[in-house]
């Protein structure tokens, strides 16, 4: 490592939280309600558990190999070529994730705020916003995440708090929901929203104390999970499951219905523009992950140049779905299959590493 290990546990936690909370929050209650009607909070909770399982596995792996990222240690565990194929798939998956994330938010902006702006413009602005800082190193990456975290959490919490006065507890009962057939799919869809946590695999080699990574993972999934759960509970209890099924972005509608006296009457616009920050941090994480992984995949010295080269590629992917409904089909599909890469693949790696008793070199911990 030509860079100092400077990332603290708090910084890791902040990075994970702001990476998890992204544009997926907008359709989140819809995913939950589609799966189990009034059981949406339960579905969300189970999804959080699955996401935590995935995060636990990659954190364990990271602690086991504290000097390497997943791209590097996978080659030690399952051999050079099998690992390369899997890693290629992981990188390709994040390419899709970044593109679709940018597209999703572009779609929201064009629908809700800038109705006459071509979607290409908003998407390219979002991608540029991620690509330019993606040239920075991991330390600055962590500074940016920590700085923006309050901006990400506060509007959501404010909206949840303000909407509770319209809440109806009956909408949340029965807790188990009615229809359990599609529940598994819904859980997987929501769990897929947490896939940004994969960023921790490249963070651990830069952490001051890699052993404490698990603490960061726990806190991050706790805070981000609570946030998701609150949003789902608020949305379902305000609108009720049947109403939510009619809405594309229930969270946005939630913001629209909340008002704060006569002072702020239309919160949705403010909510949306502040939400740009949340989307930016998520895109930034997945963009940096891509650039970083590719540079390690090809054993490049740094990832700076890659950042701009990837831009056209991501843009083409973002523009591929024809409309927002098609886009959501793709997102659900990609997200669910992505779980194979982000949860099952690390599980396999961990099991193999334990069976073959492989461990990374000890770190010299500083600080």
């Amino acid at each position: 490592m030509n860079q100092l290990r400077e990332i603290t546990v708090i910084q890791t936690t902040c990075i994970l939280i702001s990476t998890i909370i992204g544009v997926g929050v907008l359709p989140l209650p819809l995913f939950g309600v589609k799966a189990a009607d009034t059981g949406a909070p339960l579905v969300t909770f189970l999804a959080i558990m699955i996401a935590f399982l995935g995060l636990w596995v990659i954190t364990k792996l990271g602690i086991r190999f504290p000097n390497q990222s997943i791209i590097q240690y996978s080659e030690t565990i399952i051999g050079k070529w099998p690992a390369r194929i899997c890693n290629f798939l992981v990188i390709a998956f994040f390419l899709l994730l970044t593109g679709l994330g940018a597209r999703e938010f572009g779609e929201v902006v064009v629908t809700a705020v800038l109705r006459e702006t071509p979607i290409e413009v908003t998407v390219i602005v979002m991608l540029l916003m991620a690509a330019i800082p993606a040239r920075n190193d991991i330390n600055i990456f962590s500074y940016i995440h920590v700085f923006f975290l309050p901006v990400i959490l506060s509007p959501g919490l404010i909206i949840v708090a303000l909407s509770l006065k319209n809440a109806n507890v009956l909408y949340l009962q029965p807790l188990w929901g009615h229809d359990h057939k599609v529940m598994i799919l819904g859980i997987l869809t929501i769990a897929a929203l947490f896939q940004g946590t994969f960023i921790i695999t490249i963070l651990i080699p830069y952490m001051r104390r890699p052993k404490k990574a698990m603490k960061a993972s726990l806190w991050a999934i706790g805070i981000a999970g609570t946030f998701y759960l609150l949003i789902v509970i608020a949305a379902v209890s305000v609108f009720g499951p049947e109403e939510i099924k009619q809405l594309l972005w229930p969270t946005l509608e939630l913001a629209r219905t909340t008002s704060w006296g006569r002072v702020l009457q239309r919160l949705d616009v403010i909510f949306l523009v502040v939400w740009v920050t949340a989307v930016f941090t998520t895109l930034y994480s997945s963009y940096l992950f891509m650039a970083f992984s590719i540079s390690q995949f090809f054993h490049l010295r740094d990832h700076k140049m890659l950042s701009y080269f990837l831009l056209p590629l991501v843009f083409v992917i973002a523009m591929y779905p024809k409309n927002s409904l098609k886009m959501y089909e793709v997102i659900v599909l990609v997200g669910t299959f992505g779980l194979i890469l982000t949860i099952i693949y690390p599980c396999v790696l961990l099991v193999m590493a334990i069976l073959r008793k492989q461990e990374g070199h000890r770190t010299i911990e500083n600080g």
């Binding site: 800038l114 920590v146 009457q265 616009v269 403010i270 930016f280």
Partner: protein
Amino acid sequence: MDVVFITYDRSEKYLKSNFFKKNKNKNKQDQEITPDQMMKKNNRSKLTGKLDETIQIIKSLLGENDDFVIRHFHIFGHYSAAMVYLSHIVDHEVVNRDILKPLMNVPNHLVNKMINLTQLEDVLLNETLSHSKTHIENDIGKLISALLHGKTVIVIEKLDKAFHIDTHKVEKRAVTQPETEQVILGPREGYIESIVTNLALLRNRLPTADLKVKTMTIGRLTKTKVAICYLKGIANESLIKEVEKRLSQIDIDVLLDVGYLEQFIEDNHYSPFPQIQTTERPDKTVASLAEGRVAIIADGSPFALIAPVVFHQFYQTTEDYSSRFLMGSFMRMARVLALVFSLFFPGIYVSMISFNPELIPTEFAVAVAGGRAGVPYPAVVEVLLMEVSMEVLREATVRLPRQVGGALSIVGVLVIGQAAVEAGFASPITVVFIALTTIGSFATPAYTAAFALRILRFLIIILAGIFGLYGVVVGVIFIFNHMLSLKSFGVPFMSPMSPGNLQGIKDTGVRAPLWWMYKRPSFLHPTNEVRLGTSPKPFQKAQSVPSVEGNQLTQEEKNEPTP
């Protein structure tokens, strides 16, 4: 032989940026950096002991000047000698009283004693010349440079060494109130152009052996004296080394102000944000030194550079610390608000008018629409027009002679603003917003930082004109990303906010009581962190004088803090 080329090696070190390297090397082929042409010819020659020859060389170099004076005389009536100086920059009284007089008259205890040539040097230095800054030199090049620095040179026949005595005297202005950083409560003295006075101001405030002043000369023609000041045992050693390294790599012909230095040693040359603070105040410099920073002072400049610097310093003043903490915090928050005004107000205004009128309360929206009824342009163009004319006005006010300036600003703001509204160029509400913005930008204490915000404001207005509030937020994210990635001498620009530091946050938006801030800012990595003594508070209730029961009045009086 005569021409000293800057070698490729040196230029590479000196120009860190690859961008310029190509151009610079091309230039190097046909022309070298401005030389000191006169000096080169006699660079290495030593004194030979022949008075006429030496005088001839000096004369050939400086003889054309009107103020060049050679005075032949005899030391103790015996040895023929010559005194050389440049009459405009020496103090004649010192020359006559402290040099010429003792040299011509034999001291009482030496009367009738024979002094031979070998003793002469010793006698002159130790018993005759009663001036503290007397030196012996045998290199002609150095003698010439001494002459040019206002020293008086005495060359003696048959002696292969010469004396030079500091008789420098130059007019300088008095220490006055700093113009750019005024405070209500606080010291009134500011730096002047003389480095000697400035260092004296610093030493007066820091009578400690730990204050180190390292000097170097930068500028091939100006030979400007540059001083690096720091507190040993507080400032981080590697920081001092880094500052010295960056300064020593500067090779330029003229250095007129510390601003030249700033541009060479800053980390990011393309950022709108200053990464080094300039200050006119000795008290501010001392405060920074005590926190573990390094100050750079250059001769001829009434400013000191302070590095490293973080963003929060640009809206802080020394007054925040000297006034009580509630007052200091309040003023600081007002300044942050002004900063936000000056950066975002026009952008938010534009996006509200053109994109999100639903955010404006209904009653007010009617007034806005009424005001804008006659304005032919979109809000962006209107605001940009007003902003540009405001910048022109501001620049004109700075350049104009003081007597005219006051009149112009009144004419500019009142008459032009009024006329613009009446003529239908701008709506009255736009004028209000622009006025607020401009006033807000004046409240930022650091001129250089205010300038950065002035530039970025235009970026935000344009983004707001294209994307509305979304554009404003995009602009804000871009700006913060840039600020978070900036570094000043290795210190992240936004610390202690991010990377976070609990101790440091006490001195950002608010100014915590002094006894809460018992440590030096850790982002500067000071060698010694502790600022306060063991007692956490300067005065506690328990220490008050025990009161006499039943005597309420005296008790209140006695509760007054005692030292």
